[in-house]
């Protein structure tokens, strides 16, 4: 039964040597899925195991056959062990992921080889530029490196010493810059710490949330950009507003989303059932 199921979910390829190899793998990995009592589950888990262990090509697995087979079994037996089913489905998902990773990486490789030249935009059609661009992309560049004699001579001791002086100066400057950057960072952290301390006293989260809720009440279920309820150029106000909004989101009183992560506009919308209360 085991071999039968395995061969069912394996892609049907006519390659005797390959089949032998797979059987060999199955023998080798024979015991790795012993935690499953049912021979059916064990056969499937075993096959998936082989993929995870890189003994089998993920693309050798026919996930469609697998799902058909599995559904049929569930229907027939009427009883399923949810934990085992979960495990097997997780494994199937992993196989799917391996398959998709493979596709993505092979696409990426292809792109790298071809160096993906873009489509020539339509507006180039109108001028000579279009023909030029197309010719460069398709037939290669009309320029060529000139070949000059690359004769080189020995380096003198003076040049070595001058190079030493130059690099010493460079290192000194680099070190100076690094130090001043560190100092600035420290200063910044100190100030930030102070500011946070001061804010902690002023903070009255409940008050702020009330304030924001008041502003939101104008919404009437309409979505609005964050710019309408606070001055986003005032950093303090922005932080205060966003933390209140995050709180309200967690309380499911509003929903908040951003268009075009990470720099896009943030929108807020009030959730209806809360308004009705």
């Amino acid at each position: 039964m085991k071999e039968e199921i395995i061969s069912h979910i394996l892609m049907q390829k006519e390659d005797a040597a390959r089949k032998d190899k797979i059987e060999e793998y199955i023998e080798m990995a024979g015991n790795s899925s012993m935690y499953l009592k049912d021979p059916f589950d064990r056969a499937i888990a075993l096959t998936f195991d082989l993929v995870m262990e890189e003994q089998l090509d993920p693309w050798d697995i026919d996930l469609v056959s697998f799902s058909r087979l599995y559904l049929k079994r569930v229907k027939n037996s009427g009883l399923i062990d949810l934990i085992t089913a979960g495990r097997i489905i997780l494994m199937a998902w992993k196989v799917l992921k391996l398959q998709s990773d493979r596709v993505v990486s092979s696409l990426e490789e292809k792109e790298e080889e071809e160096d993906e030249w873009g489509e020539i935009p339509d507006w180039y059609m109108e001028d000579d530029g279009y023909f030029y661009t197309r010719s460069v992309i398709e037939n290669g560049p009309p320029i060529e490196e000139k070949i000059r004699r690359k004769g080189e001579r020995k380096v003198t001791l003076i040049e070595l010493i001058n190079a030493f002086e130059e690099v010493r100066n460079e290192i000194k400057i680099k070190e100076k810059r690094r130090k001043s950057r560190l100092e600035q960072q420290e200063k910044f952290m100190e100030n930030a710490g102070k500011a946070a301390g001061e804010n902690a006293h002023q903070e009255n989260i409940e008050e702020e949330i009330k304030l924001i809720l008041g502003r939101l009440s104008k919404l009437n279920g309409r979505a609005m950009p964050i710019t309408e309820i606070c001055d986003i150029h005032n950093k303090e106000e922005l932080v205060m507003t966003i933390s209140s909004l995050l709180f309200l989101t967690r309380e499911e009183k509003i929903i908040m989303w951003q268009e075009d992560f990470p720099y896009g506009m943030i929108y807020i919308k009030k959730v209806h059932h809360h308004e009705e209360k």
Binding site: D115, E116, W117, G118, E119, I120, P121, Y124, D128, G129, F131, Y132, T133, S135, V136, I137, N139, G140, P141, P142, I143, E144, E145, K146, I147, R148, R149, K150, G151
Partner: protein
């Protein structure tokens, strides 16, 4: 004496292995500017005559505002392997496009080249062939003097270069 200064300048050009300015040659040879300039013209003429009879594979020619001794275009292919070409084809394509459209926005180049333009621009800048300046959210790209020198263009006039490139494309069709 005139003959001799010709050979001295020839020696300088041969050794430099890159385009050099009249001033550089003066500095290296202790010859005067006038002497160097006239020697360069004579040399260019001499090599040209030889080339007409296929008596040399070498030419002396203007490269940007400088002068260089280099292989005649007909013989470039025989020098490639031993000199080691330095610019990968993909970058040659991109810089050929920039040469045609310059000054051109990086975003516009992205439409043609695809997103590898960012990498290409970085590499071409490092090689010294192009320079860029910020322009709002994109960059304006243009060729450097070094480009004209390296690729042996006898002029730095943008329109003339464009014409030359157009012509060259026609011939490869």
């Amino acid at each position: 004496m005139k003959r001799n200064s010709l050979r001295i300048v020839e020696a300088a050009l041969f050794s430099a292995g890159r385009p050099v300015s009249v001033d550089e040659i003066c500095d290296a040879t202790n010859l005067g500017k006038k002497e160097v300039t006239s020697a360069i013209s004579s040399l260019m003429e001499e090599y040209k005559l030889r080339a007409e009879n296929d008596d040399t594979a070498i030419e002396v020619s203007k490269a940007g505002e400088k002068y260089a001794m280099q292989l005649r275009a007909e013989y470039t292919e025989y020098g490639k392997k031993l000199s080691g070409m330095e610019v990968p084809k993909r970058l040659l394509k991109t810089v050929a496009l920039i040469a045609y459209y310059q000054p051109v926005e990086q975003s516009e180049m992205k439409n043609m080249v695809g997103s590898s333009i960012y990498e290409h621009v970085r590499e071409l800048e490092q090689m010294g062939f192009i320079k860029s300046k910020k322009h709002g959210r994109t960059k304006i790209l243009e060729l450097t003097t070094y480009f004209y020198e390296y690729f042996g263009f006898e002029t730095t006039d943008r329109e003339k270069i464009k014409e030359y490139l157009k012509e060259k494309i026609k011939r490869t069709k």
